[in-house]
Symmetry: C2
């Protein structure tokens, strides 16, 4: 036997592969648990596998580097498993989010509920196709939510490390659901609540619906698993919240101005769904009466066509909302980078996290 | 200080109170986690609290007695917490089940999605009331699912005991979701699959959608946490599956023939939803052409009225389906009782489980 070599944190593409391997093996195990129920459950697993095959593995990367940023010769195996569990958690959030928003596509493929609707239609079954689609997706999301926890608990880490990680995992779950509720509430009540404070409310949604669970909590999870110091965890939080906001604002910009061929989502989907993003908040706060009337008329209209999308885009440009959002992105990236440069973090982690800053905010999909 | 007295397993009503206390304290903690997101999240917690205030605490009772059935002087505190986590798991299942079935009521109160619809209407908000209701309920169910796991992990039990318990918890979650999918599938495809095997298929749904998670898995969870022998776990399984089927079949009978004032559900709801129960399976297998035509015409019709419900009830009586189901219930109760009598279980647990057999199968709600 060779002596164990000192552990080298893996490169980004290796990490992506390692995460995918963990997920593939886990899904094979779950396939046999579901097969005990019935072979007929196969489409549920197929829908989940298809979704998991895509994705940038961003959250596992933050978790992984949050762990290795603490230094020391830490074994890789356990952290890759814990990091991969975040992909299952995100899959649950995406599947249920698409049900709640009635979205058609996700990662360039049909959304889970649309897959089940298509199965129902193709099979010539009875009853409502939409109801079957909804049920299939609710259950697929529930499975992913339970599985994220199951995979996390499988990570070969010390019981006290897992307990520390669970505290982060628990807050992450609860606050994401709270943030999503706030997002729905803001869509329903924003006209009533008025334009004053619209930007602040939208930024609060961004923090809880995205920044925390996309970046801050994954980093804190990795750091906690490795027993990071209070100071480093505070730096991870500051870095994660700033970058997380920039990440989501980039997403919002892409949701309106992005190329559907690259984002995998139809142009203007966020506008059609009436999402109350920071972009919209800035626009309504700066709009003249004509522009305000256009937003009221078009935003959230299910029949919004290409021309309507173009009109809203123009309002977002003319009111300065687009440049305002780009300014926040750039400020938050600066905060994230300055925090990272000053943090007591290992050099490989600092370099990897700098790369992730670019990946999260300069992307086109 | 007094010396610790030997632990006495608590009586059933004390257990119910202890479980409620654990849940109340847990929800208070979660309220503060959600308050960090926004005070506006209060209605989500209200919906969950309202649902949890009801319920027979059946699953915690099986878990508790599965634990104390193994004997020894086991501390009570940890097991009550683990047992209470099953109520949160069930709450998640019920909230999502009502969304999938589009049910109006649960435990005599409006279903969670209806509560959120009413909030939307009362507040005069924009957009679709139904969509807001759906989103609120999906998120409330997701919260309960995450919280069940969080509460389970809080139980003061040794790490290896919790690991054994988690294995049961994991299988329970996955197979319940699989069972619910099978139930939806059976409703959609049963005409296509034909009457041959309809009863077998319906009994399979009962096993995975109800018997396992209502009784078998809670018992196994308690037993595993206490380190029960393989023999005792096998007896718990046999007992739990038999009683679990009887329990669900009693539920099916109440769903068609029960008094709405006692069940808290409108009369004939299962018939309106087109549920493919064992009752229906037996009826279609024994039906003459006229009766078969009535079932085809009425079962699953959203407009099913009191007269239609009465017609279907008559078919269920005339085909012998009702007496057939009562016969299975009685056979399965016999299997459960014989298994329990022969099992190497403590006497207080044997007595309590015998009481639970009666509670689960002779109830009227």
């Amino acid at each position: 036997m060779q002596p164990a070599s000192p552990v080298q944190p893996v490169a980004t593409s290796d990490l992506r592969r390692a995460v995918s391997d963990v997920l593939d093996e886990f899904l094979r195990d779950q396939a046999s648990v579901l097969r005990e129920v019935s072979e007929d459950c196969a489409p549920v697993l197929d829908a989940i596998s298809a979704l998991l095959s895509g994705g940038k593995r961003l959250r596992p990367a933050f978790c992984y580097w949050g762990f290795h940023g603490t230094g020391g010769e830490l074994p890789d195996e356990g952290i890759v498993t814990a990091a991969a569990s975040l992909e299952l958690f995100q899959a649950a959030a995406l599947i249920h989010d698409d049900v709640m928003d009635d979205s058609d596509t996700r990662r360039g493929q049909p959304a889970a509920h649309r897959r089940f609707e298509a199965l129902h239609a193709r099979s010539g079954w009875d009853g409502s196709r939409e109801r079957f689609g909804l049920a299939g997706a609710v259950l697929a999301g529930d499975l992913c939510l339970g599985w994220s926890d199951e995979l996390f608990s499988r990570a070969r880490l010390a019981p006290d490390a897992l307990d520390r990680g669970r505290r982060i995992f628990n807050v992450m779950r609860t606050q994401l659901m709270g943030g999503q509720y706030l997002d729905m509430l803001e869509q329903a009540s924003s006209d009533q609540r008025g334009t004053d404070g619209a930007v602040d409310r939208a930024r609060r949604v961004v923090t809880f619906k995205s920044a925390k669970y996309s970046i801050e909590h994954p980093l804190l999870l990795g750091g906690s698993l490795a027993g990071a110091s209070t100071d480093l965890l505070a730096d991870y939080s500051r870095f994660g919240l700033a970058l997380g906001e920039a990440f989501q604002l980039r997403d919002d910009v892409l949701g309106v101005f992005g190329d559907p061929a690259e984002t995998g989502k139809p142009a203007g989907d966020d506008l059609r769904e009436g999402k109350r993003t920071v972009l919209i908040g800035l626009a309504v706060q700066a709009a003249d009466p004509t522009q305000a009337a256009e937003v009221r008329r078009l935003l959230g209209s299910p029949e919004l066509d290409a021309e309507g999308v173009e009109t809203l885009r123009q309002v977002l440009v003319d009111t300065g909302a687009l440049s305002g959002v780009e300014k926040i992105i750039s400020e938050q990236v600066d905060v994230a980078c300055a925090t990272l440069d000053a943090a007591d973090v290992t050099e490989p982690a600092r370099a990897a996290l700098h790369e992730l800053v670019v990946a999260a905010t300069s992307r086109r999909s």
